[in-house]
């Protein structure tokens, strides 16, 4: 619902929205003290229960983190975010498409058909990718302490 507030000469205001005029409660004008009063009413329970302190602390925490966030940190965070997003997207796309193709098959491929698929260079490329990934993980899992002792 749109509310058009027309500021008149002498500072008086008039709400010109017809639906609003039909409401029984008088409209809250954000431009004067009524708006502030409404805000105080809403915040009062938070103050009474001592919960407003948490909100203020939270705002301070957010503000502090904004101050800490410089270009270098933002670059690192954005790069991490993009890599995670890209990995999830690429994997998700491949799973979705492979799932659709698999479900479209009336019969599962025979063993011979599976072996023949190795002629497909894209499949060989992805198998190499898997093997290379495993190799790198294997490198990371080396027991360097043991290697050092042996040498």
């Amino acid at each position: 619902m749109s509310i058009e507030v027309e500021v008149q000469a002498g500072g008086a205001t008039k709400a010109s929205d017809t639906a609003l005029e039909r409401d029984t409660a008088p409209p809250i004008d954000p431009l004067n003290i009524d708006g502030l009063s409404e805000l105080i009413t809403k915040i009062t329970p938070l103050i009474q229960a001592g919960r407003l302190d948490n909100i203020v602390d939270l705002l301070s925490l957010i503000s502090d983190n904004i101050e800490f966030l410089d270009e270098a940190m933002l670059e690192k965070l954005s790069k991490t975010g993009e890599e995670v997003m890209a990995l999830g997207w690429t994997t998700g796309n491949a799973l979705r498409m492979a799932n659709a193709k698999t479900q479209a098959q009336v019969q599962p491929p025979t063993l011979f058909q599976l072996i023949r698929m190795l002629n497909n260079p894209d499949l060989r490329r992805s198998l190499y990718f898997v093997i290379e990934t495993m190799t790198i993980i294997g490198q990371q899992m080396r027991n360097d302490t043991e290697t050092h002792v042996v040498s």
Binding site: K79, A86, W89
Partner: protein, 395 residues
């Protein structure tokens, strides 16, 4: 099998291709539809970030990704250059010598900076709309110790069509001011910002929308940036380093930082469909459906259109859903159902650290808000990460 052909692997074409796969997935699954993209490059470049290259804050490789990694695997991606659009035969002719037919085509081929269209500008001017010119400008901005940097903005001659990325000249002017202050040479380098007499529907302003134009003098005064209205660049003398305007003014410079004239790509120029002046090549586009006038199965978006909205990614982001929905609706219902209302949104880089979210449409101008640090962080987050999610059609 029907085919939707997307020509152009920039932000508009990429997000549209991905969104079409999403929207048309049942037809793709049943092999009734193929989504094909033709791009002349294996790489996708985030063009707007070239302006950061000009200020030495980005390495060019950070702006590039392999195009295929941004496309869903259902898309048939071809690296080829479209030489000719044959709209009457529903096909394109490519550099490889092959023809590709289509049922629907989306043309999102961008625009080409063309400083050679103004005498002397190619030789004496600099710009930040492509990587190599931005690197060249960066060298000059890094080393200038004193003198005058003159900023000029050149509109297309086609009426009511804006230059590339409407806010970019202001962004880079403010970034330049910050950059020279950081270098400690600002007090010895004058910055002169100029704007032509005719800027779309406005006359003698400093920006192409009036609310922003009204507020700019106070922003420039605060930063000691000199500004000149009514400077329509006519020619540049590279020997004396003086820029001359059609209005009879002249401005000496040490660096001429220009928003150069632009035109459509060759294949669009040669299609013979454009009614744009000065052989600029913008395609006549229905401002609501985004269809090209004179053909029922051709959609245009991004820089290639002749609409009054910014030639920028923020336009593509809002046009793409309309194009996708209309193609889907035409294929399934037989009529278009979405309307583009001219919406453009962006986060303007207002200096090196501050940013200002902005949006407008056919009916309303940008409402200027004070630039903030949060706005700056928002823009930098977009540059570094969110852009690639947008290209993938995720945002």
């Amino acid at each position: 099998m029907k085919r939707i052909l997307i020509v152009g692997g920039g932000i508009g074409g990429t997000m549209t291709a991905n969104s079409l796969v999403n929207k048309m997935y049942p037809e793709i699954l049943s092999s009734d539809l193929e989504i094909m993209m033709i791009s002349n490059s294996a790489f996708h470049e985030y063009k707007p970030a070239n302006m950061y290259v000009a200020f030495n804050s980005y390495h060019p490789h950070e702006l590039r990704r392999k195009q295929r990694t941004l496309l869903r695997p259902e898309i048939n991606f071809l690296i080829d250059g479209v030489e000719a659009f044959e709209f009457n035969k529903n096909r394109v002719y490519c550099q490889s010598g092959k023809y590709y037919e289509y049922d629907y085509i989306v043309i999102s081929t961008g625009c080409v900076p063309s400083p050679e269209r103004i005498e002397g500008l190619q030789e004496a001017g600099d710009h930040f709309y492509q990587t190599e010119p931005a690197k060249k400008l960066a060298q000059k901005l890094r080393t200038i110790e004193e003198g005058r940097i003159f900023i000029t903005v050149n509109f297309p001659k086609t009426p009511n069509v804006p230059h590339q990325c409407g806010i970019a000249p202001i962004e880079t002017t403010l970034m330049l001011d910050d950059y020279l202050r950081k270098r400690g040479v600002r007090d010895r380098v004058d910055i002169i910002y100029s704007y032509p007499t005719v800027s779309q529907l406005l006359r003698n302003c400093l920006f192409l929308q009036k609310p922003t134009c009204d507020i700019l003098p106070s922003i420039f005064d605060d930063r000691n940036i000199i500004y000149q209205r009514g400077f329509t660049l006519d020619k540049v003398d590279p020997d004396t380093k003086v820029a001359y305007s059609e209005e009879g003014h002249s401005q000496p410079f040490d660096i001429l930082m220009a928003t150069p004239p632009i035109r459509a790509v060759d294949a669009v120029l040669n299609s013979g469909v454009s009614q744009a002046q000065n052989n600029e090549g913008w395609l006549p586009t229905d401002h609501e459906t985004m269809k090209m006038y004179g053909a029922d199965n051709v959609y245009v978006m991004g820089d290639t259109v002749d609409l009054p909205v910014s030639k920028a990614g923020g336009s593509c982001h809002n046009q793409s859903p309309v194009v996708v929905e209309n193609i889907a609706s035409e294929m399934r219902r037989g009529y278009t159902s979405a309307i583009y209302e001219g919406k453009v949104h962006a986060v303007a880089q207002m200096g090196l650290d501050s940013g200002m979210p902005l949006w407008y449409d056919y009916g309303s101008d940008v409402q200027v808000a004070p630039p903030t640090k949060l706005g700056g962080l928002m823009r930098k987050t977009f540059n570094r990460g969110v852009y690639w999610a947008v290209a993938r059609g995720l945002v």
